[in-house]
């Protein structure tokens, strides 16, 4: 009778290496994606610069609900609170956008 053949088992370290290899491959694919994305972004930035120059734009169009988050660069800091006396800022985007420092010459920044 043949002695029982010992079953080959994978070391825990081997399993870990397999997981790490999979993660490494995923990260490599994402790195390639990031490089391709950067090249695409550069092309798009050229178009955006043309739009900004030709139209004299000053702000990004991310949120359109409130004028102080649609045009934060050229808005007044008081705008979120000027609807009525004692008004509080209530638009959700106000929580994502930090208030900019009061911009402009003649506003204490000279």
């Amino acid at each position: 009778m043949n002695p029982a053949v010992p079953k080959r088992t994978v070391r825990p370290l081997g399993r870990l290496l397999m997981v790490l290899t999979c993660l490494g491959l995923l990260l490599l694919a994402l790195f390639v994606h990031a490089r391709i994305g950067a090249a695409r972004q550069e092309r798009e930035n050229r178009l955006r610069r043309i739009a900004v120059a030709a139209l004299g734009l000053t702000d990004l169009c991310v949120a359109t609900e409130a004028r102080y988050t649609r045009h934060p660069a050229v808005t007044d800091l008081v705008v979120p609170f000027m609807d009525h006396p004692g008004a509080i800022e209530h638009f959700p985007t106000g929580s994502f956008w930090a208030p900019p420092a009061a911009p402009g010459f003649n506003r204490g920044e000279r």
């Binding site: 870990l16 798009e44 106000g94």
Partner: protein, 397 residues
């Protein structure tokens, strides 16, 4: 036994030990990865937006002049541009009439911009950013260039003419001369670009005023000096330079915003719970395991090595997993989890086309604030347990 072989064996033991308590360790890994995912996603999305603003707004007007009255912005008289004629270095002053138009049917807020396009830089290249149609001839009345959201609103209404209401509720219609490309959505999505006279007519703005003045300067180095001269010449105005506009976008997506603070506080709270749980001591089972290992001849440094590897594996895997998921979330799903906060109640929702820029410094910061303290919190209680005699540790169990 070589150092490498010793550590490989310790690693094997550590993995087996982690696997024995897989439910607990997996939940720690997932929660930890979730916290890192939240912080990394916020970092990536704000970095991508800041980068886009930085790249695009490099072509913004060098100086923008707004008139202030009683703490509010009001229309600026065109006569102000004549007052600037004495300032050497100004190439030209271009008035703009712009404002917001609320579309009652769709509930959307559009930005209406009226300007003399032929006086703007790069006006000859405007057709490059149009997906359909072409830029109307300078001074041509009744033609509009519109963003994609405006076009979608128009299609829903089923008309080809863009009909808008003046403040006195009389209607004015424009033909759509062109639609901006999707690539410029982040700037033009809600825009309606008109001739300046059409915009005056729409908003009933008198002919002798404008919303603001764009000043173009011959020498870029002179911008701060010229801005100061303008501020002195027109004391009732706010003078915003391009550098200030770009600076605004470096801070608006910062950690000081409320949402970011919530993310940060959540992460901190989760982490404090972790650290407290770990630092408050080992479980009786873990103490027993350490004591048995010591009785079997393991040294204190071996036990510390086990705990160190445990910390590296759990925290390292959570870090890699969290950061990878954060990249996928921002790059492939457009940061959809943050979108409700980013756009709020906006009816118009531009496609952001975010391309996250992966910077080592960003991830290093997250690593230092998450992985390193976790490892410290893992090793210190193990050291205090492993340094006492095994018999006494086992006797207490």
């Amino acid at each position: 036994m070589s150092v490498l072989a010793r550590h490989l064996n310790i690693l094997d033991h550590t993995l087996s030990s982690l696997w024995r308590r897989r439910l607990k360790n997996l939940s720690v890994l997932l929660v930890f990865a979730g916290v890192i995912f939240l912080i990394a996603s916020f970092q990536l999305v704000t970095r991508a937006l800041t980068e886009t603003a930085e790249q695009a707004l490099v072509a913004a007007p060098e100086i923008t002049i707004q008139k202030m009255s009683a703490g509010r912005q009001v229309a600026v008289p065109l006569a102000y541009s004549e007052k600037l004629s004495g300032i050497f270095g100004i190439r030209r002053v271009v008035p703009r009439v712009w404002g917001y138009y609320f579309d009652e049917v769709s509930g959307a807020n559009y930005t209406v911009l009226g300007l003399e396009r032929d006086r703007m830089p790069a006006s000859g290249q405007l057709d490059l950013v149009l997906d359909q149609g072409e830029s109307p001839a300078p001074g041509r009345s009744g033609a509009a260039l519109i963003g994609r959201s405006v076009q979608q609103g128009l299609e829903r209404k089923g008309g080809s003419l863009l009909s808008l209401f003046r403040p006195d509720l009389s209607m004015v219609s424009f033909t759509v001369a062109g639609v901006f490309k999707e690539e410029t959505d982040i700037l033009t999505n809600d825009l309606i670009v008109l001739d300046i006279d059409d915009a005056r007519d729409l908003f009933l703005v008198p002919e002798d005023v404008a919303t603001d003045l764009c000043v173009y300067v011959a020498n870029q180095r002179e911008v701060p000096t010229i801005a100061k001269k303008i501020a002195d010449a027109l004391p009732d105005t706010r003078v915003v330079t391009r550098a200030q506009i770009r600076k605004t976008y470096q801070v608006v997506f910062g950690w000081r915003s409320g949402f970011a603070s919530v993310c940060l506080l959540t992460a901190l709270a989760a982490f404090v719970i972790f650290a407290w749980d770990k630092a408050s001591g080992l479980s009786p089972e873990e103490r027993r395991e350490i004591s048995i290992l010591k009785l079997l001849g393991w040294e204190t440094r071996d036990i510390l090595a086990i705990r160190l590897w445990e910390g590296i594996l759990v925290a390292g895997l959570a870090f890699v997993l969290g950061c990878t998921l954060a990249y996928i979330h921002v790059a492939f799903f457009g940061a959809s989890l943050f979108r409700p906060v980013m756009v709020g109640w906006s009816v118009i929702s531009p496609s952001l086309r975010l391309a996250p820029t992966v910077q080592l410094s960003q991830f290093l910061l997250i690593f230092c604030f998450s992985v390193l303290p976790y490892m410290a919190a893992t090793v210190i209680p193990a050291w205090s347990c492993a340094s006492v005699p095994a018999e006494s540790a086992l006797g207490g169990v």
